[in-house]
């Protein structure tokens, strides 16, 4: 059975994606070593890693899709499902918890009408928990896309998500 992504990754991945992945491979001792970098590159353009993306990358790196999926699903910043325009990485670690981070998170869930792992109906946000963001002196903290937001309270959370 022919599969456009697996038979020829160049038919599926863009020239830009292929060039960036090859650039990573060029300073590594073997092609599979670029697995995580390649997943991140493709995700940066497409938002997530579809089965087709996974197959194309696996073929490009000379590994099985199953092996690559074992890597992709290990890492929490690789998304194997579609995500919203921005991912909210909400710190649920201990310092934020001590500063009522769980209460703020409950407010976020209510406001966005999502639970962890879900995307808002308007596709704007996906909410995920994350380990300590290293901003504990300004707890509670979260990432919205690439931006760090901190000193969150139940009262100011609206402005952080507007």
């Amino acid at each position: 059975m022919s599969n456009i992504a697996t038979d020829n990754p160049g038919n599926f991945l863009t020239e830009q994606e292929l060039a960036e992945i090859e650039s990573e491979i060029s300073h590594l001792p073997n092609r599979p070593s670029a697995a995580i970098d390649a997943l991140k590159i493709v995700q940066s353009y497409r938002g997530w890693i579809s089965d087709e993306s996974l197959s194309a990358i696996a073929t490009l790196l000379g590994m099985s899709a199953e092996e690559l999926d074992g890597i992709a699903t290990f890492y929490n910043l690789i998304y194997r499902q579609p995500v919203g325009e921005k991912v909210i990485l909400y710190c649920d670690s201990v310092s934020c918890w001590l500063m009522d981070g769980d209460k703020v998170c409950k407010k976020i869930k209510q406001k966005l009408n999502v639970d962890y792992g879900e995307t808002t109906a308007d596709n704007k946000y996906t909410l995920l928990p994350v380990t300590c963001l290293g901003d504990c002196d300004h707890a509670p903290a979260m990432m919205v896309g690439d931006e760090l937001h901190h000193d969150l309270t139940i009262d100011n959370i609206e402005e952080h998500l507007s």
């Binding site: 201990v94 310092s95 380990t131």
Partner: protein, 428 residues
């Protein structure tokens, strides 16, 4: 000479230090006087003499770690890796160093690579640290353009190429052999030791992995000498340390202080004491995987041996404060949920034991605890907590706050179980 070497370029300066500012404040002088001029073995002896100990949590002597790297033979690569995967809950020190003064880390890495004859370096940094990633890359580009990185550094025989590797997540990447697997593009499962990374690390080649703060210290030891470094500490260990406090203190923050500063001084003078209306109940001295200490330990000096004698570990030196209005059981349940989620799943006691512990704690916190639960928790903390029963230190680390929590806050557990409710009535 400064008594705050790590933050001298950071304190009182709003921006981040670029190459011009760094050099104007004496930066890269240690590289200029050392590369191609000093025997690498002499630098190693200096580090050993200074007795710099790893600032990532374990406190292993850095010079000794480096001395296990075999003599250079042939032309194969040798690697130096900065562990910038700061993910220990409650720890916020390396981000400050990388965002505010990226060249300090790079200079420390050049000197360290020179000492162990490494030709390739990686800064393994967590993906959420976008600002630090951008500033490190900018700093590497500037240093390379100035001949401080790359081929034939300062026209010497020494070459060192430095890359920023942005991680894709998972706490276990902070374990140095898991980190190496991740750098190789694999699942971040810790490796069996031996062989140790110094002999067979990244792609089977000699490799040293050091924490960011450790590498930053190297610059100042080379610049100012071992005696100066040792004189900075108040007790047995030399140097300064980035200490911090988070939770319900008046002024949460991170401060560079002498190694051996008493815990009381950090909490009362620098953190301003407890926030109004809160009392100190206990604290984790150095991150999630350290044992609880209590107010009776406030006069313990923050250095490796003294905190160990008090029954805990200094860890990363950033303290997490448990106040009297927060539930100890709830806090420990939060910690164990984190550890269970972050298990790599390789070995059974960790993969199965941590979720078991978490489930019991959640049940007790929800008011559905049983008297037998205490025995199970005690047994688990001993069994999973014993080094050697698990593949790596993740699960034993997870048991440190549990075992010590059972010891110091036993009453709170019993109150939950007998009262069939959390007495803190914490509404979420």
């Amino acid at each position: 000479m400064t008594d705050k070497p790590l933050t001298k370029n950071i304190i009182g300066f709003d921006g981040h230090t670029d190459l011009a500012r760094y050099e104007s404040l004496g930066g890269y002088a240690a590289v200029r006087k050392t590369i191609g001029r000093t025997d690498p073995d002499a630098v190693l002896e200096l580090l050993k003499d200074a007795n710099l100990r790893g600032r990532g949590g374990a406190g292993f002597p850095t010079g000794m770690k480096w001395s296990f790297v075999p003599k250079k033979e042939g032309n194969g690569h040798r690697y130096l890796v900065a562990n910038a995967d700061e993910m220990e809950p409650g720890t916020f020190k390396d981000r400050l160093l990388m965002e505010k003064d990226p060249h300090q880390l790079i200079e420390g890495m050049i000197l360290s690579a020179y000492t162990i004859s490494a030709d390739v370096g990686y800064i393994f940094i967590r993906g959420e640290y976008h600002v630090a990633i951008a500033r490190l890359q900018e700093a590497i580009n500037a240093a390379t353009a100035s001949g401080l990185l790359g081929e034939h550094i300062l026209d010497s025989e020494f070459s060192f190429r430095l890359h920023v590797h942005v991680s894709a997540g998972r706490y276990i990447c902070g374990e140095e052999t898991a980190l190496l697997n991740s750098l190789e593009g694999k699942r971040a499962t810790p490796r069996a030791k031996p062989p140790f990374p110094q002999v067979s690390g990244l792609w089977g080649r000699p490799t040293i992995v050091n924490n960011v703060e450790t590498l930053c210290n190297v610059t100042h030891i080379v610049a100012n000498g071992a005696d100066w470094f040792k004189s900075l500490g108040l007790g047995v260990d030399g140097g300064t340390k980035l200490f911090g406090a988070s939770g319900r203190v008046a002024r949460p923050g991170c401060w560079e202080l002498p190694m051996g500063t008493p815990i009381r001084e950090i909490l009362e003078e620098h953190a301003g004491g407890m926030a109004e209306g809160y009392q100190l109940k206990g604290f984790l001295p150095g991150g999630a995987s350290t044992d609880f200490l209590t107010p009776e330990h406030l006069d313990v000096p923050m250095e490796y041996e003294t905190v160990m004698q008090a029954g805990s570990r200094m860890g990363t030196g950033t303290m997490i404060i448990l106040d009297d209005r927060s539930c100890a059981v709830g806090m420990i349940a939060n910690l164990e949920k984190f550890f269970a989620r972050e298990s790599c799943g390789f070995c059974t006691p960790c993969r199965e034991g941590l979720p078991w512990v978490q489930e019991i704690l959640d049940r007790i916190e929800a008011g559905n605890g049983e008297p037998d639960d205490m025995d199970v928790l005690e047994r688990q903390s001993q069994f999973i907590g014993a080094i050697g029963n698990t593949h790596c230190a993740h699960a034993p680390g997870a048991m440190e706050p549990l075992a010590s929590g059972l010891k110091y806050f036993r009453d709170e557990f019993i109150t939950h179980i007998e009262g069939k409710a959390c007495p803190y009535q914490r509404e979420v």
